[in-house]
Homo-oligomer: 410 residues x 2
């Protein structure tokens, strides 16, 4: 299984959403933001044949119009295309917003010759603005004319405050046939997924039944996107789609088989890579950190403790300052609501144990301090009560986060 | 009932913790931080006669040593003195920390001639450092020699990153006798109380039985400190003490009487004022905002929705930027887990309705924008499902918050 992801590793192979056979992508500059700029802000992803479709969506009760429409469409278990725009979230836009999302589906359906119910729609950008739908419909036509095997531009077209495109692809042999799983994602702020996250589109040429695809995607999202946090805010527009078109002409991947395990690993690898890339591009982030919690009473508690630490503003600012302020980490664990035994609790940063047997380890703070200036910092916490463990990813909180978000809509 | 609080209103009357009869305060420069600076960092608050004592403490499972000791001592329902230091939290310091907190209680007991079990201990500052207990013990002796009717210095001595001291006092007639309720507080970061908060010491010359005092304090804390958030992080050292010494020679305040109601209002007023002062002094804060949630299914949900909005980094940065980005407010409500009916939901800022009937109100964003530059911003949200309501207070998130916290311990 070879991992190829951008910008972490460059390859000559096709990347991202067109890595798998039978998928095409096209983009257009639709001027969604209305500032006349010529940047690509609309992407189409099309399967040459009908594909099994699965989707995982935000659990925010305030759901954007495209989320509502795509949730309906994905229930068919079948899709031909994804249409996505940046620059406007089409959220909190009432009945008009739903109509606009449906018009995007219809225009895409017309362009690729499929029923509108086989189009998944996604939007990202400012909440509460009416969509410039006429410009978007024109853009869909241009993106359809641009369809090809290059997926890089699609990864760029869905960016908002992202500073780099996020792509990953993995090759995996199933039933003796090489298959590809690839994906793109966007996300930089409003990142604290609870069931799904941001925008992420994954394609594969494997053959999957709809129920299997849905289960695989939901589980993989739980282990990847649902373990990252940039700022603790959950989006109204989170969605992750998986399209599986069977174009590799391999066997159907059935639950419980060795191929299923292999495929699941490939899917996990792609989603984890995209999740890491999102955290690394967290708004204003200069550094990322992982929090591995072990010794927890159960998995739910391990995840909760790890995510509480990755979300703590005081931990995030300490990481930003390269400050081994481990007391803040323990304070965050302490308020997370999980069971812990303080006298058996252990805390290490970059492998250096700082806290054990109820107190600080002499000299450890000084030893670990220089290692906090690295681009990635690993934190390990043992709660001292059980066997469960989990890992979560976060990024530091910098003045740039404030700058970026203090005037995003205006 | 006259409210006198600093810095909001200056009066000639005694303020804060010595406003009530029979209470004395003293301070000392104990060099807790070990930097040789001469700032006051130790405060004693002493009742001339034994006082009924009540306390509310952090629910963080990682509790500082003074919290553990004071929780034990407050169970007696009787106290003579509070000893508090800034500069070191005495948290995560193991058995040695507990011993240090007990030595602080013993030294105070010796100085004011009472059993050590009648001393409440509180500490605030960096977590995980061993206390410079010899210097603190010397400081306690000097603070005892400094005891007098001026409480202002005590309010200053407990400050850490606070930029101003927080005091409030209220006069209330009970059974025809004038009583005073006064208090001081510190807190600026790690503020997201769940059962108690920061340090707050309240004194009164009213006569209260211990159970009544405990109930009154717990309820008043729930309506004041537990409604504020600076950064979503809960302290390991939160505690709020109430000492009631009966020195006004009024009747005992019994539950269910008119005097009880009056006293409760006075206590609420003092705690709410201190809570407002803490938010106004939130680390790096340039502006505060209130979030009133109405139309909620029940009170718990109203509080949860309001506090989720006051804790959202994206709302806080928008408030910092003076940006009427109401979509972020709705997104925060949507992820808070409370029941809401988006089509009946209403959102107003400074009385200007921005969102109603499922969509933005035309022109409202432009109308409200200039009012977001005020020092206080009022947000009103109706969830459209019930009758319950609650208010919470928050402050903006600025680059200064990051600067203050990126290098606090080092």
């Amino acid at each position: 299984m070879a991992v190829t992801s951008s910008p972490m590793r460059q390859t000559e192979e096709p990347k991202g959403v067109t890595a798998a056979k039978g998928f095409l992508a096209g983009v257009a500059a639709a001027d969604v933001r209305g500032d006349g700029a010529s940047r690509h802000d609309l992407a189409l992803i099309v399967s040459e044949r009908p594909a099994t479709a699965a989707g995982v969506f935000t659990t925010n009760l305030v759901k954007a119009a495209p989320v509502v429409i795509s949730q309906l469409h994905v229930k068919r278990g079948l899709a031909r295309a994804i249409v996505a725009n940046s620059g406007n979230a089409n959220a909190c836009t009432g009945a008009r917003g739903l109509g606009d999302a449906l018009r995007m589906a219809q225009a895409t359906a017309d362009a690729v010759d499929c029923p509108p119910g086989e189009v998944l729609v996604a939007s990202t950008g400012v909440i509460g603005r009416v969509m410039p739908v006429e410009r978007i419909l024109l853009g869909i036509g241009r993106a359809a004319a641009d369809l090809g095997r290059d997926g890089d531009q699609a990864a760029r077209a869905i960016m908002t405050t992202d500073t780099y495109p996020k792509q990953a692809a993995v090759a995996v042999a199933l039933g003796g046939v090489e298959h590809m799983v690839g994906g793109i994602a966007k996300g930089s702020g409003m990142i604290h997924p609870e069931m799904a996250t941001m925008l992420a589109f994954v394609t594969t040429d494997a053959r999957l039944e709809a129920g299997t695809a849905q289960t695989l995607l939901r589980e993989s999202v739980r282990r990847s996107f649902n373990r990252i946090s940039v700022d603790g805010d959950m989006s109204t527009n989170d969605c992750c789609f998986l399209l599986a078109n069977g174009a590799a002409d391999g066997p159907e991947i059935r639950s419980g088989t060795a191929d299923f395990q292999q495929f699941r690993e490939a899917l996990d690898t792609v989603l984890w890579s995209l999740a890491e890339q999102i955290v690394g591009d967290g708004e204003g982030a200069t550094r990322t950190f992982s929090v591995r919690v072990s010794g927890a009473a159960d998995q739910v508690q391990a995840v909760r403790a790890a995510r509480t630490v990755t979300s703590s503003p005081l931990v995030k600012t300490a990481i930003h300052g390269g400050d081994p302020n481990w007391g803040r980490i323990l304070a965050a664990v302490g308020r997370s609501g999980v069971e812990l035994a303080l006298d058996r609790c252990r805390l290490a940063i970059e492998g250096e144990e700082l806290f054990a047997q109820g107190q600080v380890v002499e000299g450890a703070v000084e030893r670990v301090a220089p290692r906090l200036l690295q681009p990635r910092v690993a934190i390990d916490i043992n709660l001292g009560v059980g066997e469960a463990e989990a890992i979560a990813l976060g990024c530091d909180l910098s003045s740039d986060y404030v700058r970026i978000n203090a005037d995003y809509s205006t």
